[in-house]
């Protein structure tokens, strides 16, 4: 399992080096809406709502909710 993880990790990282764009090709990526987590207040609302209603938390951020709601 560990070997599989490292093989997968090295394949992903080596492939990453051949991906991507040049600095002058970032016209679309530089838009706010193309940045993960750019709408932090909305993300906070979603995480707080689902943390209080479901057994799952974390992944897109830390799993502690800082809330007695669950």
């Amino acid at each position: 399992m560990k070997i599989l993880f490292w093989i997968l990790a090295s394949v992903i990282l080596s492939n990453c080096a051949s991906l991507g764009v040049e600095p002058w090709e970032r016209d679309l990526l530089s838009q706010d809406e193309m940045t993960f987590g750019s709408n932090a207040v909305e993300l906070g609302y979603e995480q707080h709502t689902y943390f209080s209603k479901e057994a799952t938390s974390g992944g897109n951020g830390f799993s502690g909710g800082g809330c007695g709601c669950n």
Partner: protein, 432 residues
């Protein structure tokens, strides 16, 4: 006569001097502008939001937020967020629905409430106000690294939380790849109304472990963000969460029912056991997120999360949204979220009289097997080209589980053992 040429020369000189000084004046003004003292921060921005959340017959929440960010020179940022969360209404106490009236003691022990036959067992005394503050600082370290450090604190009348977090990111491959490593430590103090009940003690003979208890959560987060093309960016995270301490829900109880084969099988015996969960929990999440720009009018966002823990819960979360520009200023964003989870090993919708008490037991519907769907639409307008924007979002959230589990018997077969939850959510966000 001698004066004329002199006069002419003087006029020429005056004009020449005036022209020179005018022309010379322009660069001087520009130079002065450049030399202006640097502002304490280069840019100020903020967000004000409000959330309205209302469940049918249950909880209503109102949650205003204000977030302010000061951007200093050198891409250094300081963000502060203040949240007030007000909850009123009724909360499910965990007891199974019954065909007979059921009377419960309020958590404080000072009062009682009775639930009519066939009704959801809701504790009407639910009320809370939560204040939360967070502050975080982020800055580059050299050309390839970024450091973020933050602190969060929150207070409600029965819960206090303090957490510290930090993360380090490394940019690689011409900033097309970002690797992140983060940690968070959270310290919680729980002061339940009426004291923290001893797990599996009965409502009639409630034992308490004292006025308060505590819990700690340590989180590790590994992230990889990769630019795939001019239009596509992807993120993969792995999150490990380790919790220890008091994790019972002090307000939840499990019904004892008359065992199968007896008269009145499935009816409540009148004994209710307080929630008891393990004092350790290890959570794993793998999260994949993608944003694709159509290079025309839209951005497609999609994400998937796989979660599992050592309480026997696993879940799948799918999310998709499509932000479409209607005009240069207006946009609309429909979204769908689908969530499904398995139940905790110690989840029981009811407890059969005469069987041995398990080590742990909960009937908290949030630890039961369920699915949830959120449908939403957001509409917004850009107010300028520097990020000022207003948006409105409406969502509907429905949660449903196994209302008639296979192990139900007697009168339990004719009641809803997992009443569904429906909530409407309204949100307004103003960015400036």
């Amino acid at each position: 006569m001698q004066l004329r040429p002199k006069k002419q020369k003087s006029l020429k000189m005056t004009l020449a001097l005036a022209t020179t000084s005018l022309l010379a004046g322009l660069p001087q003004v520009r130079a002065e502008e450049v030399k202006l003292p640097e502002a304490p921060w280069a840019k100020w921005s903020g967000t004000i939001g409000n959330l309205y959340y209302a469940e049918q017959d249950r909880v209503t929440a109102i949650e205003p937020v204000i977030s302010l960010t000061a951007e200093f020179s050198g891409e250094r940022k300081w963000t502060n967020k203040f949240v007030i969360d007000t909850l009123t209404g009724a909360s499910h106490n965990g007891a199974a629905m019954a065909n007979t009236p059921q009377t419960f003691t309020t958590p404080s022990g000072a009062g009682h409430y009775t639930i009519a036959p066939g009704q959801v067992t809701l504790d009407p005394s639910f009320k809370d106000t939560r204040l939360a503050l967070s502050s975080s600082w982020s800055q580059p370290l050299g050309t390839d690294y970024e450091l973020t450090a933050g602190v969060n604190g929150s207070r409600e009348y029965d819960f206090t939380s303090l957490s510290l977090n930090s993360s380090l990111s490394r940019y690689m491959n011409n900033k097309n790849t970002k690797l992140s490593l983060g940690f968070s430590g959270e310290f919680d103090s729980i002061n339940p109304v009426g004291g923290a009940p001893v797990g599996l003690s009965t409502m009639a003979a409630k034992g308490t472990m004292g006025a308060s208890d505590s819990k700690q959560v340590l989180d590790l987060l590994f992230g990889l963000t990769q630019v795939m093309s001019r239009q596509w960016i992807v993120q993969i995270n792995y999150n490990l969460g380790m919790s220890s301490g008091y994790m019972n829900d002090p307000y939840k109880i499990t019904s004892e029912v008359v065992a199968a084969g007896n008269p009145g099988a499935g009816d409540p015996t009148g004994t209710y056991y307080y929630d008891k969960r393990p004092d350790q929990r290890l959570k794993h999440s793998i999260f994949v997120d993608s944003k694709y720009h159509t290079d025309g009018w839209g951005i497609i966002g999609s994400s998937y999360r796989y979660f599992f823990d050592d309480w026997g819960i696993s879940s799948h979360t799918f999310n998709i949204d499509y932000r479409m520009a209607l005009t240069k200023k207006w946009f609309v964003e429909p979204s769908v979220r689908y969530y499904m989870q398995s139940e905790a090993d110690f989840y029981k919708a009811f407890f059969s009289q005469g069987t041995p008490l398990p080590d742990y037991m909960t009937s908290d519907y949030r630890l039961g097997k369920m699915t949830a769907i959120t449908l939403g639409v957001e509409i917004g307008r850009k107010l300028d080209s520097y990020g000022k924007e207003i948006s409105f979002r409406a969502q509907m959230y429905t949660q449903s589980g196994d209302s008639h589990p296979a192990d139900a018997f007697g009168s339990l077969q004719s009641v809803d053992l997992y009443p569904s939850v429906t909530a409407v959510i309204g949100q307004v966000i103003y960015k400036f």
